[in-house]
């Protein structure tokens, strides 16, 4: 980020614009980059979901718009933008309009917190993992607002279900995060990645000692994202569309965008915690083999790290979509019971196990 | 048909070729057919209403799961008033609402009689022979 800042100030001074202007407007630049990335990734993810679901049910996904259906999401986006913004009678206008924004903004912030490579991190806090978890809960408030202000009984039921579900599934995530923090001795996401650095790449990754924690966290992530088998709030066959029944046009597009952006960033989070983040699968970086004499080797390594992070996240997203295609929906009662009576004790057990492992491996030091 | 001697001993009914015609004590006959172990007609298959122009014939089709026999009990209702058997067979409720809707027969002792198929504000009872449809040009004529 520092390079970007200095480059920006330099660029402005070439045109005799004062430094103060540059200081004030600098935050817009990463914002534009994140927004561009989100749009690109969501484009790919929506199409990928439909194609993958088609793959699992022996059909082709969308394949008419563009070669292999690549432009399908663009067509969907244009369609949504051209729809009328319906004003629901009896709804609280301010809350109704603000709710989609409140769902989307925390997700954008999350995109800024995760480290894409050693140098490409938009915001590097010293406790970024904890900050990540706390911001990831904010969309819940927005969902409840959306459901309540729609003046629709179905939306209200969907919103309250969603709130209860997300809150119940936060706690196991905290315990698993604690055990990862014990393993890496830090709560900074970049440090967690570097603590998985090992000369035998895969063996250093945290999913080997902490496999139970990975499974627990995977299930909780599915619940956070309101995805099958936890998609009660959007149960299409029961509540029509749950908390976003009354939304149309751009506001619906924001909910949609937020869901898929959240999907990518949560799976990136999982990859960072358990699968070595942006570290390569091979023993050395591929760039080191190809570009070993170039003076830009470091830059190539940074871009390659981004590539590894995206590759691993997409593999995990593929598994999440596989789960969606296979399993039916859980009922409300077993959802709550599963979280409080099964996942929470297991995550505590996992924490104790990790502490014991770390104690033994670390030679008596924690 | 099955052996109707026990029924004839107790009630005064006419036995036709394939149905039993009851004139009075209708509910008692139905209860007798349901509760007697030799008959035990425990399933009400359906209630058919036929509009013979001066009266309406209600045919109750009963089935016995033990003897696997079908039985038809027929009752002629004049003046569009009949007795409800909801207390004997719970499944008669929808059928009686439908017959009220389509033929105009009011069933006593059925406290929630309402139209089933037609809207609540419809006037007339469609299945009666006196209710003419406008499909004369589609109807079959010799």
């Amino acid at each position: 980020m520092n390079y970007l800042y200095f480059w920006y100030i330099q660029f402005l001074q070439n045109y005799n614009i004062p430094k103060l202007f540059g200081d004030i407007t600098f935050p817009l630049l990463p914002f534009c980059i994140i927004a561009g990335m989100i749009i690109l990734f969501v484009l790919v993810l929506v199409l990928m979901e439909r194609k993958v679901l088609g793959l699992f049910t022996q059909r082709k996904g969308p394949n008419r718009v563009g070669i292999w259906g690549i432009l399908q999401t663009v067509a969907d986006a244009i369609k949504i933008l051209c729809k009328q913004n319906i004003d629901v009678q009896g709804s609280d206008k301010f809350l109704f309009n603000v709710a989609p924004i409140l769902v989307f903004v925390p997700v954008m912030i999350l995109w800024g917190i995760i480290p894409y490579s050693t140098e490409f991190t938009f915001m590097n806090f010293s406790v970024s993992a904890l900050l990540y978890i706390s911001i990831a809960v904010l969309p819940v408030i927005a969902i409840i607002l959306a459901g309540y202000s729609s003046n629709n009984k179905y939306s209200l039921i969907g919103a309250i279900r969603s709130g209860a579900q997300i809150i119940s599934y936060e706690l196991p995530i905290m315990f698993v995060l604690l055990s990862i923090a014990v393993l890496s001795s830090s709560v900074n996401l970049k440090d967690i990645v570097f603590s998985q650095l090992n000369s035998y790449s895969v063996l250093g990754w945290h999913f080997i000692p902490c496999f139970l924690g990975f499974l627990i966290m995977f299930i909780c992530i599915l619940a956070e994202l309101n995805r099958c088998p936890f998609d009660l709030p959007e149960a299409e066959s029961e509540l029509v569309a749950g908390y976003n029944t009354e939304y149309s046009g751009m506001r619906f597009a924001l909910f949609f965008l937020a869901e898929y952006a959240n999907l990518f960033v949560m799976s990136a989070f999982l990859v960072i915690l358990f699968f070595g983040g942006f570290l390569p699968v091979t023993f050395k970086y591929i760039s080191e083999y190809i570009f070993s004499d170039s003076q830009f080797l470091q830059v190539f390594i940074y871009f390659e790290q981004v590539f590894w992070l995206i590759l691993k996240s997409f593999l995990l997203i593929f598994v999440i979509m596989l789960v969606r295609a296979t399993l039916p929906r859980l009922s409300v009662k077993s959802l709550m019971q599963f979280s409080w009576f099964v996942l929470l004790p297991l995550s505590m057990l996992n924490f104790i196990l990790i502490a014991v492992i770390k104690f033994c491996v670390g030679g008596g030091n924690l | 048909m099955f052996d109707t001697s026990i029924l004839c001993d107790k009630f005064c009914v006419d036995i036709m070729e394939n149905k039993i015609v009851v004139r009075d004590n209708f509910i008692e006959v139905i209860e007798f057919l349901k509760n007697t172990p030799e008959y035990s007609f425990d399933v009400l298959s359906s209630i058919v209403a036929v509009d013979l122009v001066d009266k309406i014939e209600l045919i109750y089709q009963l089935y016995s799961t033990q003897t696997q026999q079908m039985c038809q009990v027929s009752y002629y209702c004049e003046n569009f008033i009949a007795q409800s058997i909801v207390s004997v067979y719970k499944s008669a409720y929808f059928e009686e609402c439908e017959i009220f809707d389509m033929f105009g027969v009011k069933f006593e002792n059925n406290n929630n009689l309402k139209r089933l198929y037609m809207p609540e504000s419809w006037i007339g009872h469609p299945m009666l022979k006196s209710y003419k449809l406008n499909d004369e040009r589609l109807a079959w004529n010799e």
Binding site: Y154, A325, L327, P328 | S46, D51, Q61, W140
Partner: protein, 366 residues
């Protein structure tokens, strides 16, 4: 101030399997009472019969239950043939049984797909439709139509079956049991599925008999009543099959009964195909159906359709038009029993229970 919320489910709703309106009173998420309102699909099929000749009414009969066109056709043709005292040739009866059993398999496959879709799993729908597609193309080759067949005539069937068609049926029947066991692998022991269907929607034998429920719903409550065995019609007394019964009384039991019914239909089809390949004969008694006049009389024919007992009452008065036609269908009584079995359950269990009853609205509304 009471907590009771009155919600109107339907008539337009993705999962009420047709146009059914349920006025439910909810206390939180628990159901206190349900009142079904039917009649949105009333087409007056019984009144239409009184102004049509016997032959003109025959194609209309398929549309009473669109998933079981052969069952209703058979019931109507059987009534007319009985009143005409005509004997249907053996080969025609066997062809009729073959068509009815394939129709039963197709109807249960569609039920299974939509039931899993109601529960949230979207993949089994496509697998079931893939198999249903094969059956529908077999029917298209035989009768010219995929759904409203118009194939049975008074006295027999319209076209003869060829040996090539019978070979295609055999190929399908040989591969089909493997498909059913594939579906069972991902559904029957799935803990989420059993959690949502076991002990939900308990329909005891007494309640079922009081409400005149027949078919798979009754057989899942422990009552061994299959009209093909107890009051055999057509050539069912010469065929060897085992009706599916179990004592579970819940949605899971109804699911198991329908899966077992598909397997026993496979046995019946094998026997019928063997008979048809070995024996030849007439396919129709050559009754002149135009200007057909039926002597005075009345008759009730009954058929075990895929939803229960299907009865057709026909009264003829010597002219060319029926005097009265009345249909008794299985779904009519399943809708009546719904308020009894869905008391004090959660709202999202209601959809699962209603799906397990296999209700088709055109059958209820005629």
């Amino acid at each position: 101030m009471s907590n009771i919320m009155k919600i109107n489910i339907g008539p337009q709703h993705p999962s009420t399997h047709g146009v059914l309106r349920l006025i439910t009173e909810l206390d939180g998420e628990e159901i206190i009472s349900i009142e079904p309102v039917v009649g949105y699909l009333h087409r007056g099929l019984e009144k239409l019969a009184e102004n049509r000749s016997y032959l003109q009414y025959l194609p209309m009969v398929d549309r009473i239950d669109y998933l079981g066109g052969f069952f209703t056709s058979y019931a109507y043709c059987n009534c007319v043939e009985h009143l005409l005292n005509c004997v249907v040739p053996k080969r025609a009866e066997y062809i009729r049984v073959l068509c009815m059993e394939l129709n039963r398999i197709a109807s249960h496959l569609l039920w299974l797909g939509t039931f899993m879709l109601d529960l949230g799993a979207s993949s089994p729908l496509f697998y079931c439709f893939r198999d249903r597609e094969i059956i529908l193309s077999l029917f298209e080759e035989l009768t010219g139509q995929r759904m409203m067949y118009n194939y049975f005539v008074f006295g027999g069937v319209r076209f003869d079956v060829t040996n090539e068609w019978l070979n295609k049926v055999s190929d399908f029947i040989v591969k089909f049991p493997q498909c059913i066991s594939d579906y069972e692998k991902i559904i029957t022991k799935n803990p989420i599925f059993t959690d949502r269907t076991v002990n939900k929607g308990i329909l005891s034998k007494n309640v079922a008999l009081q409400y005149s429920v027949t078919g798979p719903n009754l057989r899942a409550s422990g009552m061994d009543l299959d009209f093909r065995k107890s009051n055999p019609y057509s050539v069912y007394d010469k065929l060897d099959f085992v009706p599916a019964v179990n004592h579970l009384c819940d949605s899971y039991g109804r699911y198991l009964v329908r899966i077992a019914e598909m397997k026993s239909s496979v046995d019946i089809v094998k026997q019928v195909v063997r008979y048809l390949k070995e024996n030849n004969g007439d396919i129709s008694a050559n009754i002149k159906a135009i200007n057909l006049k039926v002597q005075e009389g009345e008759y009730t024919s009954y058929v075990e359709s895929s939803r229960g007992l299907l009865c057709c009452y026909l009264r003829a008065d010597g002219s060319g038009k029926p005097y009265r036609v009345k249909w008794r269908t299985g779904s009519y009584y399943a809708v009546q029993v719904l308020p009894q079995i869905a008391k004090n359950v959660n709202y999202n269990d209601l959809i699962a229970i209603f799906g397990s009853l296999d209700v088709i609205m055109p059958e209820v509304d005629k």
